[in-house]
Amino acid sequence: MSLLFTPVIGLEIHVQLATASKIFCSCSTDYIGAVPNTNVCPLCLGLPGTLPVLNAKAVEYGVRASLALNCTVRNATRFHRKNYFYPDLPKAYQISQYDLPLAEHGFINITSEDGTLRPIGITRLHLEEDAGKLVHGTSDGRLTGASQSFVDYNRGGVPLAEIVSEPDLRTPAEARQYVSVIRQLVRYLGVSDGDMEKGSLRVDANISVKCSDGRWGERAEIKNMNSLKALERALEYEIKRHIKMLSEGKIIIQETRHWNDSQGITISSRSKEEAHDYRYFPEPDLPPLVLPDGYVKEQLDKLPELPWDRKRRFKDTYGLSEQDSATLTENRDMADFYENCLISGGSPERTANWLRTEVLRVLNENKMELKDFPISSHIIAEMIVMMDNRKLSNTAAKEVFEHMIENSSDLHSAMSLCDISAGGIAGDQLRDLVSKILEQNNDVVRVIRSGEDLNGKKQKYLKGLVMRETRGQADPSEVSWILASLLENN
């Protein structure tokens, strides 16, 4: 009888909250690229005599994330000290939460492989402070073998929300999806930039494997996965390792393992530093955190429309495809941009097309954020309205669009610089132009009139010439119509 193995995965996600200042002092949280140890003060350096003061914004962001994760927010909570020695932790304790986390008992839906929604339980969300960063003088940046180590406390004290999931995930793909949903959510809420590579969203995985014969291996905690891909690969590797061990009848020990991305393996990191008794106890420097009456309700009312709700609405209200709704609601800026275009009069479908193809292409090509996009939603909409009213062809619009991107110019100057006029070429003007083309291509006209252009290829060729001459400013159906009537006439 062959054995069946079921992976059981739970994730701990640390999300850096996008507050302007740190969680317990007024230092800036903007540490990326800052000169080491410049965003620091006596408090976040842990100097004797300093005392923490809780940043209300961090609480607000934590509550917002908790509510969006369908958690129950505690009205009264407190902070604990988590004690351990390490040079990146200047007080030798981290102010965190322990028995009374900010929020508990939530869930979030992911889409499983068969397309159905599957709720993943959220055990808790709690607030804590980030540690500083050690820079070791070794080639791999790890402590082992380093002759010198440096500490940068700029990151120390940046607020973190730790989101702990239930062990509800079954596959690496699900784990990946769960993380991307959380990432999308925190970005939507504006509480974090959720950037895994920069480390503002960090994932640790707990994984164990259940065997159909009743054995259930101990769990391993995997760290150091810096991308969604790394997460998936590490879990795949780890599942294989567990299954192999179980198949061979070996005992799996509970341990922390380090993902090595270049080698594609996990390595046990059993070391003295890992064997911790954190000696948690209530932080005496901070009074209990009691949220004012109505605070949670107020935050709930202030929650923006969540991405999945917005996606459904885009489908239902604007008649967009599943794919278009997903793409346009992937991030809040794009969804807002889209709806702003509609407010300015753009038709839902054409606007969706334009954003999904042209705008996203430009963003991707230039690695640009939508907020830095040079053309406003209003101008995009104006262009789309002209297309909707057949005053501007797709081809002409693209030319004008490129011009605006390159020169950051407004629509009308771009059009005049491209020598494209609103309303395009139509009526008598178009008829004259078609006539001119026909005259210049007498031989082709003759072939058509002799009835030899059976599949209409020649006529299409003529139409193409007209369109090129008008530089897309003519309505293609009008061109066809004029062309047909002129060819018939003689």
Partner: protein, 488 residues
Amino acid sequence: MDFYRLSAHEICRKVKSGEITARETIESSLERINSLEKGLNALITRVDERALEKADRVDRMLSAGEDPGLLAGVPVVIKDNMCVQGIRTTCASRILGDWKPPFTATVVAELEKEGAIVLGKANMDEFAMGSSTEHSAFGPCSNPWDPDRVPGGSSGGSAASVAAGYAPISLGSDTGGSIRQPAAFCGTCGLKPTYGLVSRWGLVAFASSLDQIGPFARSIEDIALTLQVISKPDPRDSTCNPSKRPDYQSVLDQSSLKEKKVGIVKEFMDYDIDPEVREALEKTIEVARSEGAEIVELSLPVMVRYGLATYYIIAPAEASSNLARYDGVRYGISSEEEDLMDMYLKIRGDGFGEEVKRRILTGTYVLSSGYYDAYYLTAQKVRQIMTSEFKEAFSRVDTIIMPTAPTPAFRKGELLDDPIQMYMADVFTLPINMAGLPGLSLNAGYSRKGLPLGVQLIGPKWGEMQLLAAASVLERSFGPSLIAGGDQ
């Protein structure tokens, strides 16, 4: 001129009226320090030049017609666990080396804003752990009334400075009696305010839920004045009460204790205390009675029975965490070792004294998994019960009178090898910190050997007004505290 004899009130008045200059008062204090400090060892760091410069600034302000503040030209001594920017802060430990804080404690900033002049940083038990100021990396401090005896602790240097006349006022910190017990041993007044009345920003933490800064002075009037200055709300300390403080000096002219109820603790009346301390206590109760107070006998069994044990779980637990930051990485003494753990062991092994190590070990133990519930959690519950016990007591009385310490100042070395006996020196004071209440030690006379005898007054939470009022009535009978070695 012996300006060092003057109270803070008198100095401020005379300086403002132009009778004396701030420089003269500081020079008089420095002279006094020069003549006594060798024997006392009350100061770890002196800042004579800085003090004279600040004095000149006060004098210049006055000649320019500006008001230097409520403490114009008043010399003060600061316990060496409070940060003053640019002045070495040691906590009487080796581990901090010559660390100079880049910021100033709120209390010191408030004093200086009112024209007070810092003379130096006072000797203490290392990290405020001790009751004798013998556990100092800078050597023991002596009692100004008898150099063979201890000044009490941990704020022994601050108490000795005021008793010896270095300064009319000083600041100490009190986690389990560290202001009141040395005040009693040195014959001064010492107030431990309600937890949360005075900002702890800039006070190097020992046990954060118990630590409170307070003043020493030779009169209740000066205690009230100093408290007024240092007890402002401070947004940098989340445990500091944000409400406006009352005018503490307004209650000092209260004429009697008529219609007041003064509690005495039944269990302590049977306690094994020094006969002369007991006499002083009984005398105090008599004075209270004669001033019109009704004496009410109270029973505080939990506090009496479990106070000490509970304290020696909670305070070391918090200390073990608060003192973990001294790791040699950022400041203080440093050491180059191959291995991180070796560095920690070296720094902390060399840097901390025996008593501090003892408490860190105790605290680490009681917080460890498997022991937390039995020790720390149980202690927190007992602390709750003690707090309710006091609350109930203060529904019946306005003030409680009890001894400050079981004995007068003991001899140097006498209890050094017996930590439990040393801990017992705080048996009457530390429950007050556990309940977060204000406590004040007042000099109630002298033993036949000439040692000061203190009594302790306890008030309800935020009850500094009634505490100071009662103390000022009693003080009228006892007279203000004397300067040791001064021939008044």
